[in-house]
């Protein structure tokens, strides 16, 4: 059967199809004709299935495929799809007419500006500056967090909870489980609602607008050449940008990349050098008071990202992937879709985060009681002091393993206490940005890349982050750039 009354392929291929069809004895869900075409193109799944089910006829089929292959210079996949394209063209010409519209649209002009590197790079920087820095960093992590933290939790909820506990609960263990420094409500829920919620919410809002506008694929085209140097291509822009929201989600999305090599490189870079929105928001608001510190942190992370990507591309064998992506039109985002999407993403995130935050509070509480916590902190201590940081930072690194944002949020508390100098703040933020992925991300890494790769990546990240922190501290002291 061909499409309608027309035949698409030439006689050689049609004869090959007939030959293979005749040799297929079993029943298949798709038609024998379609299966024959897949076999001619040496589709792996189909070959495997035939080998298993057709036994004797398998060799006969293979010989027809080989014979047909030899009659063409180009691979059969190419030949077959060009026949299909040719027929698609005939058909389209037959049913579609284009009436000339001479409006040169605004979006076409905008498109050109975005894709031209000279104008495109400044636009990308502006989008990042306003979207990430201004809106997420200053508004989300600054204004909203300050309000929820200072005006709601510290003014009302925490004192209220602690008073109730002091008045009515006589067991010390229950008081510290719920309130105090590491309590479920005073730490776990406060971090989740007052610090993480506004940051993640503002990020997802900006991200939804950017993705609905169709800007992301244009950004992908723009950075394609740079990304090729680090073994990726423009396609990887999506997981990378999404990583600024949630690295766990981004690690999952990295499966859209074409080769295993790209998937491994992007998983590594996400685990190492892409801070998630909660972490980024806290760090941006911490460093925004010190423009120089912010700049040092930014340069450091970009250098690490490119350097490790470059090395990974050298170490991992594989071909450079070709870049091919549908270019959707630029569209004005619909507010309702943006809001619904922000809401569903936050819902997903919260279902994931809140139980973990509570669990971590409980774990820390439990660890405090039996003393494991201080043992672990002691393990971190020499590393932390080696990179020039005060001892108190050790416990933040421990938090950071549970969730990246949790660690960064802890840093927030320390800075308010005024124990860190500008240099120490940069070194701590930078090391913490690189430091091991959070538990959720690690679990996703295992799910997507396998246990072995996930462990290798995590071990590398652990060692590398302290080395890099050490180097950064040394550079800052020697050059006297920050004290």
């Amino acid at each position: 059967m061909s499409i309608g009354s027309d035949t698409i392929y030439d006689d050689t291929i049609e004869n090959a199809i007939k030959g293979i069809e005749a040799s297929l004895e079993k029943d298949y869900i798709i038609s024998k004709r379609a299966l024959s075409l897949l076999l001619l193109q040496e589709d792996e799944d189909s070959l495997e299935e035939i080998k298993e089910r057709e036994k004797e006829n398998y060799l006969k089929i293979i010989s027809i495929v080989e014979e047909t292959k030899n009659k063409y210079e180009r691979p059969l996949t190419f030949v077959i799809s060009s026949y299909r394209q040719k027929y698609a063209k005939t058909l389209t010409d037959n049913v579609m007419v284009k009436t000339e519209t001479n409006k040169k649209s605004f979006s076409e002009t905008l498109d050109k500006i975005m894709l031209n590197p000279i104008t495109g790079v400044p636009i990308a920087l502006l989008v990042l500056y306003f979207g990430l820095y201004k809106f997420v960093g200053q508004f989300g992590a600054g204004v909203i967090v300050d309000f929820l933290e200072g005006n709601i939790f510290e003014a009302y909820i925490n004192p209220w909870i602690n008073n109730i506990l002091n008045d009515y609960v006589s067991w010390e263990w229950l008081r510290t489980l719920i309130g105090g420094d590491y309590g479920i409500i005073t730490l776990g829920i406060r971090y989740a609602i007052a610090i993480v919620l506004p940051i993640v919410g503002t990020f997802f809002f900006v991200f939804s607008i950017i993705e609905d506008s169709g800007y992301l694929p244009r950004l992908a085209m723009l950075v394609d050449r740079l990304f090729k140097k680090i073994g990726l291509n423009g396609r990887a822009v999506i997981p990378m940008v999404l990583g600024f929201g949630c690295d766990t989600m981004a690690t999952m999305v990295s499966r859209t990349l074409e080769t295993e090599r790209e998937r491994i490189i992007s998983t590594l870079l996400l685990a190492l050098a892409i801070p998630c929105s909660a972490q980024l928001g806290v760090i941006l608001s911490l460093l925004s008071g010190e423009p120089k510190a912010l700049l040092v942190w930014l340069i450091f992370i970009v250098v690490v990202f490119l350097f490790i990507g470059y090395l990974a591309a050298k170490v991992l064998p594989g071909e450079e992937p070709l870049f091919y992506m549908e270019m959707p039109p630029l569209r004005l985002p619909k507010l309702s879709n943006v809001l619904v999407k922000t809401y569903t993403r936050m819902e997903w995130y919260f279902a994931e985060v809140l139980p973990l935050f509570i669990l971590i509070s409980v774990f820390i509480w439990f660890g405090n009681i039996i003393g494991i916590f201080s043992v672990l902190v002691n393990i971190f201590r020499p590393f932390v002091t080696a990179i020039g940081l005060p001892e108190e930072v050790s416990e933040i690194f421990l938090f950071g393993f549970f969730r990246r944002d949790y660690g960064a949020a802890g840093l927030f508390d320390l800075v308010k206490g005024g124990i860190l100098s500008a240099r120490q703040l940069v070194v701590a933020s930078a090391t913490l940005t690189l430091f091991v992925p959070c538990v959720a991300q690690f679990v996703m890494m295992i799910k997507e890349r396998g246990l072995k790769t996930a462990i290798y990546i995590a071990a590398f990240v652990f060692v590398f982050s302290f080395f890099a922190g050490y180097a950064l501290n040394w550079i800052l002291i020697t050059t006297g750039a920050l004290v």
Binding site: M1, I3, G4, D6, I8, D27, I29, I30, S31, R33, A34, L37, L38, Q41, D43, D45, T77, S81, R84, Q85, Y87, A88, K89, L91, T92, N94, V95, M96, V97, K98, T99, E100, T101, S208, E211, D212, S213, G214, L216, P217, I238, M252, V253, R255, T256, L257, E258, M325, E326, P328, P329, R331, P333, K334, N337, V340, K341, T344, R345
Partner: protein, 190 residues
Amino acid sequence: MKSFNDVETLNNNESIIDEKVLERKEAEKIVLVGTPNVGKSVLFNRLTKSYVTVSNYPGTTVEVSRGKGIIGNKEYEIIDTPGMYSFMCITEEEKVTKRLLFKEKPDAVIHVIDAKNLERMLPLTFQLIESELPVLLVLNIMDEARRLGLKIDVRKLEEKLGIPVISTTAALNEGIDTLKERIDKYVNRV
């Protein structure tokens, strides 16, 4: 041709079989396929009561989503799939879609395409027709095609391909009722 036969036997024996037995049979399946970023997920949201994330970049859907939707007076299982360019798969998500198509015996396959790029997207329609899957073609994003001054003779295309062709703008809820009617008629044809 298998699924075709199933439907036939079912219809022939309808009077003999107790209706309760029929109800217990698994819901009929409708699968949405197509290249990335043509609006499969928007259409999925229109046909079901559930919500999947929709965006304007290719590859948002990396997993299969399933939802229930009522078309005509029957409940169907509607399946949204990651984008696929061709049966010769390159990426993991494409393979997911292909395996699903080949294993689930869908009662209808809706190939969703971007009307603006009719020519580029037809080859997958050909492959679906060649496979003798019960396919319907949906020309989506018609509003943008019209704005570009493109006119498509849907009747003629239907005749040439020998399958139902429906034009829609899912984002604006245009053509959805017609689509539902055609699906209903197509799945319950004898």
